[in-house]
């Protein structure tokens, strides 16, 4: 308990800084709006318009548009950003076994996480629909969504923890279960290629709740009359689900799958905190950070960021097109 005094002074200093920051922000916004309010009658509308949109637009231009363009350019330059190297960074990416492994891992992630999360989430949403205690059951599966990827990483590090047989008792539940059934404990996070799948489990654990909540809302939106009609026609539970519910929630299914796919492509924290990308578990987002910020290879890092963008792009385009079509139907 010693040394608490510096903690408190530190605390006050930081909160002071925060209040200062908030006050500065309020002052800037206040002044902008005040000036717009008092602008000369002539052209007041233009000034007011600028006051409302300029702060956001300037931030986006400087902090997102310019950087994205610059990163794209940097992808064609060497590590210092001085010398143009053409496609060398991309050639490096596809010839370096480590990086190829990283790309393959990312594809495995994006193939498995959306599929598993959506299937489990949908099954769960259907199972608990209209059941007693639906709210509680929902909260339990949805909860991982609220916690950080790093927190989830720690939770699962303990699930996967490995102890040498005969050396110590297992402290990880999974290995203990294996031991109880007379098996050999496994180093879940070290043994490639299966370790990637055990990392994927963590992401599925988080995203299932998201899929479940959205799909559950969609299922409740399917008109009761149609289900009733199908039932009167003699459709059994599975047929009702297959022929009425699924078509009724198609739009939401697309949203869920694409949203989770995009989140999965960008996954960084789980890999970072659980294996650090070692043992052949790295993914593009993690490798991008490692190259750019641990090794100062800005060219390689930028090229990886561009690849990430190119992987996300088709999913978003598909999503927007489906949305458009749905709007037309309505």
């Amino acid at each position: 308990m010693r040394g608490l005094a510096p903690f408190w002074s530190d605390l006050f200093e930081k909160f002071g800084l925060m209040l200062l920051g908030l006050a500065a922000f309020a002052a800037v916004i206040g002044i902008i709006l005040f000036l717009a309010d008092r602008a000369p009658k002539k052209g007041r509308d233009v000034w007011q318009l600028l006051a409302f949109v300029a702060p956001a637009l300037v931030l986006l231009a400087v902090g997102l548009i310019y950087p994205a363009v610059r990163t794209t350019l940097l992808a064609f330059y060497d590590r210092t950003g001085d010398e143009f190297v053409g496609l060398n960074n991309f050639v490096w990416m596809f010839t370096q076994p480590d990086i190829v492994q990283t790309l393959i891992n990312t594809l495995i992630w994006v193939a498995l996480v959306p599929t598993l999360s959506t299937i489990i989430g949908l099954a769960y949403a259907v199972f608990i629909d209209k059941s007693k205690g639906e709210k509680v059951l929902k909260s339990l599966v949805f909860m991982p969504m609220a916690i950080s990827f790093v927190g989830a990483g720690i939770i699962w590090r303990f699930m996967y923890e490995f102890r040498e047989v005969g050396f110590a008792e297992q402290i990880g539940l999974l290995n203990q279960i294996i031991v109880w059934f007379g098996g050999q404990p496994q180093q879940f996070l070290v043994n490639s290629p299966w370790n990637t799948f055990f990392l994927i489990v963590v992401m599925v654990w988080i995203q299932t709740g998201f899929a479940m909540v959205l799909l559950s809302a969609a299922i409740k939106g399917v008109p009761v009359e149609i289900i009733e009609a199908a039932r009167l026609d003699g459709a059994n539970a599975w047929q009702q689900f297959r022929n009425v519910t699924i078509p009724g929630i198609r739009g939401t299914l697309v949203v869920v799958v694409t949203t989770i796919s995009i989140a999965t492509l960008k996954v960084f924290d789980i890999v970072r905190s659980m294996t650090g990308g070692n043992f052949d578990t790295s993914v593009v987002a993690n490798e991008m950070y490692t190259q750019a910020f641990n090794r100062n290879e800005f060219g390689y890092g930028s090229a990886l960021a561009v690849i990430l963008f190119l992987m996300v792009l088709p999913i978003v385009v598909y999503n927007v097109r489906v949305m458009r079509k749905q709007k037309e139907i309505r």
Partner: protein, 316 residues
């Protein structure tokens, strides 16, 4: 203010900010129908899933109250055989000072200092921009709005390197709170503008017209009508942005400088878990300290949280 809200809701014929209301009506009808779709098998499967989903977190919570010795030597399920309870780990990770200690007290404060402004700034700027896009007619309004919407697809990773160069080279604020605030604000803007626009454009035009006839200009309309009417949406989106920032690791790693002066909990946790062997008795308590705020927010404001989620994903 409530007068305006009433007027607006009367025009809309439903409470503002509750687009999902028709759906809610259907739910009650559905439960009245009381179909028995759920078989015993399905219920069993649901309970199995719920248990599997809960056990990892539950195990960590139990672990966090065991003594360091116990955490190191045997699993948390032994708690049921030989119960024990201690707050030692929490006291250790929160208050012990020193280079090798977890020092989470400071990081917890940092997380708060980062998250509060980083949630407020973008939603305020977004509300202003969204008002302009929804209710001020100007050339290129549609095109710019679509551009902002499209920016959502740009992964954070695309912006990190140049933005860091701007912060350290031009502004000289790299590794300070303002750098992290600004970064989070920028990255949060595309989605928040889009969501606020969805909401604000729903406000009945008559309400705003009436104010204009009374001689109110844009600033006055913004403060007297838009802000009071948008409070529910602001709450939902604000909570969402707050949790996003609180749980973020990547932006923190790049812009916070990584020291106890600025870096948030997630960063310290990632460091601790990086040396799992040495820190394992601290990690359960440490993880729960970082989870406590999101869990409180989640359980007390679940309604807003879900609404924010639905708005964010069924549209974007």
């Amino acid at each position: 203010m409530t007068g305006i809200v009433d007027k607006a809701e009367e025009k809309l014929d439903r409470p503002l900010g509750q687009r999902n209301d028709p759906r809610a009506r259907k739910v009650s009808r559905a439960s009245k129908a009381k179909e028995k779709l759920t078989s015993p098998g399905a219920t069993f499967a649901a309970i199995v899933i719920a248990v599997i989903w809960t056990i990892p977190t539950f195990g960590l919570l139990v672990s966090s109250f065991r003594t360091p010795e116990e955490i190191r030597t045997n699993g948390w399920w032994n708690m049921f055989v030989s119960p024990s309870f201690t707050l030692e780990n929490y006291a250790d990770v929160l208050t012990t000072q020193g280079a090798s200690s977890a020092n989470l007290g400071s990081y917890f404060v940092n997380s708060l200092i980062i998250s509060i402004p980083a949630a407020l700034f973008p939603i305020i700027l977004a509300t202003m921009a969204a008002y302009a896009f929804a209710w001020i007619k100007f050339k290129g309004s549609g095109a710019i709005f679509v551009l902002i919407f499209a920016l959502q697809i740009v992964p954070l990773q695309m912006a990190l390197i140049p933005l860091l160069q701007i912060f350290s080279g031009v502004l000289g604020i790299s590794g300070t709170f303002p750098a992290v605030w600004i970064a989070h604000t920028i990255f949060g803007l595309p989605l928040t503008i889009f969501l606020m626009h969805n909401f604000i454009s729903e406000i009945p035009g008559e309400v705003i017209e009436a104010a204009r006839v009374d001689g109110a200009n844009h600033t006055q309309i913004f403060f007297r009508i838009i802000i009071p009417l948008s409070l529910p949406a602001l709450a939902s989106i604000g909570i969402f942005q707050f949790l996003w920032v609180w749980n973020d690791l990547l932006v923190a790693l790049v812009f916070s400088g990584g020291t106890a002066d600025v870096a948030p909990l997630t960063q310290r946790l990632a460091e601790l878990v990086g040396n799992f062997g040495r820190n394992q008795e601290r990690l359960p308590a440490a993880a729960f300290i970082s989870l406590v705020i999101p869990l409180i927010v989640f359980f007390s404001l679940q309604r807003y949280f879900v609404r924010g989620l639905l708005a964010g994903s069924t549209k974007g």
